[in-house]
């Protein structure tokens, strides 16, 4: 593979990984814009969805039903999390809520360890065809599935927001919670929906990437964290930012790993995050809200729907 082919290879694996980051970032951004909470447990839903799918398949369930069930399981757990841990604390401070999501993440991680142990579980690729050669690089068919998932998810999301009544209601709530309540939109139900949606999306993302990276009980943590980096990179205030951020992060990571060293794997994402946070925390496509007088960045948090009364 020539140098150019190598670069194309980096680009391709960057886009693949980036699509996953984008999906997780999407889940985070939608939740954040609706409830004002960063769900730090999002990575664990990746794990739960993926490992559930693995278990269901090895119990004899065919592929597609296994995946659907796994996603539903993740959704149920997300709903439980929201009702049991988030909704009761809806009036609490940001710090309290952050600690709660961390607590849930730890509990879920421990449960995953309990149920599935530490060893990796392989998930076979969705289709069993040979890799494709393109412009001097190699494309594994699974990568196309990942990309396809990302594209379909984004299209469906935009269709939901633009074309359906419910979607418009959600957009309204994302922009101005109180006005939305005045016209009858229920913030508690929205909050529940946001968490369920993000949990299911994260689970789906994990299922699609597992054939490439294998599934372990702790796969979710780093993926979740990188999803955060992607969301911040793109700007948490809008959905397009999540996608741009995810793809960009994936590409940066792929090139860094390829051209520098693979030990940088996780460090690169952290460095990107710190650089973005120090220079421009609102991200590439976020709203610019830097208050020069006080020298502080305002988190665009005040207008959030919250889960009820915030």
């Amino acid at each position: 593979m020539g140098a150019e082919g190598q670069h194309i290879q980096y680009l391709i694996s960057g886009i693949t990984l980036g699509s996953i980051y984008a999906l997780i970032a999407l889940a985070l951004v939608v939740t954040f814009n609706i409830t004002g909470i960063f769900n730090l447990a999002i990575g664990e839903f990746v794990t739960i969805g993926t490992l559930s799918a693995v278990t269901l398949r090895s119990a004899g369930c065919p592929d597609v039903p296994a995946f659907v069930l796994a996603v539903l399981i993740a959704g149920v757990i997300a709903a439980t999390m929201e009702r049991a841990a988030i909704y009761p604390a809806r009036k609490a401070s940001i710090l309290t809520l952050i600690i709660i999501t961390i607590g849930v993440a730890i509990a879920l991680r421990g449960a995953a360890l309990l149920i599935w142990g530490t060893h990796p579980y392989p998930l076979p690729p969705f289709v069993d065809t040979a890799p494709i050669a393109l412009w001097g690089a190699v494309i594994i068919p699974q990568m196309l599935f990942v990309l396809g998932l990302a594209v379909v998810a984004v299209m469906l999301l935009f269709a939901f927001f633009d074309l359906t009544y419910a979607g418009k209601a959600v957009r309204a709530a994302m922009i101005n919670r109180n006005a939305a309540r005045l016209v009858g939109i229920n913030p508690a139900r929205l909050s529940l929906l946001a968490f369920v949606f993000s949990g299911m999306l994260a689970a789906l993302a994990g299922i699609f990437i597992a054939p490439i990276t294998t599934a372990t009980y702790d796969m979710g943590f780093m993926l979740g964290l990188k999803g955060f980096v992607a969301a911040i990179l793109g700007g948490v205030t809008n959905v397009k930012g999540a996608i741009v951020g995810g793809l960009l992060l994936g590409i940066i990571e792929a090139f860094a790993i390829g051209m520098l060293s693979s030990g940088m794997k996780d460090g690169i994402a952290m460095m990107v995050m710190i650089i973005v946070l120090l220079i421009c925390p609102t991200g590439i496509m976020g709203l610019r809200i830097y208050n020069k007088r006080t020298g502080s960045w305002m988190v665009w948090l005040r207008q959030k729907v919250g889960t009820g009364s915030r």
Partner: protein, 329 residues
Amino acid sequence: MASAKSRYWIALILVVVCVPLFVKSNYVLSILIVIGLYAIIVQGLGLLMGYAGQVSFGQAAFYGLGAYTAAILATKCDWPPVLCVLVAPFLPALVALIIGRPILRLREHYLVLATLGFGILAFAAFNESIALTGGPSGLTGIPYLSIGPLVLDNDRSYYYVVWGVLGLVILAVANLTCSPIGRAFKAIHASEQAAQSAGIDTALLKLQAFVFSAFLAGLAGGLYAFWVTFVGPSPFGFTASIEFVLMAVVGGLGTLWGPVLGSAIIVGLAEFLRWGVPILLPKVGGEFEIVFFGIIFVLIMLLRPQGILAPGRPSGMSGVAVKEEKCSG
């Protein structure tokens, strides 16, 4: 000082001093040392969170920086141990000074993520800088702490060292909170705008709290290095950082004894789970007891988010109650 308060302090000091006379088990003593070390770290974190209204999910990085600095000075530069312990905290303090201004401009979620990211980066650095830190295998051969002819090579004597330092730290923090600076912090907490209009450089004060918290974490790190005589990266990961925040919150932010109580509870809880859970579920291995840890985290936050020693309803910038310590002038 009012005599009631002095009596209270003397009683506490007596209790702390007498414990090793009654406790013979090295296991318990080492737990107490760990609680003491963490209490030092959490005192700083508690000041940062309760008074300066910030948060840091990266204190373990400063803990590690202190430990590694002390270890490197002792093993590679052959400095006397006491000097290493005294000098080590200045490196994390310096790092905090450098990153403090830009990082403290962030709010809420962003601050959480930035400090978390910093902690993760530091941990990665500990693991990767093999020449300096020995990488995952760490640095060995650290000598024992010795003061003159006295060599502190057992848990009993080290208990006194750690709790002695903790006592000094608590004294310093008590001084601070009942001083004009403490008043300034409470003012910032009540109304940052009015505090600035009164001439208080709020950004500087927050930075000073941040640097101080890093200094204390580094101090604990240095003490840790000479206790275990070995420094590896594993105690300095993000899990530790998260636990420190939990200790601060559980004990009660803005209280003097909250950090000690919080550390005792969390460390005690971890030990209890490590002992108890295998009895309940004997077949499972690994560190799954963290499931219970996580559930307990959530329950505490739902039921009493202000912590144990802080009063009433949560309030203030971080939304967690700051118990306004009564200062008797």
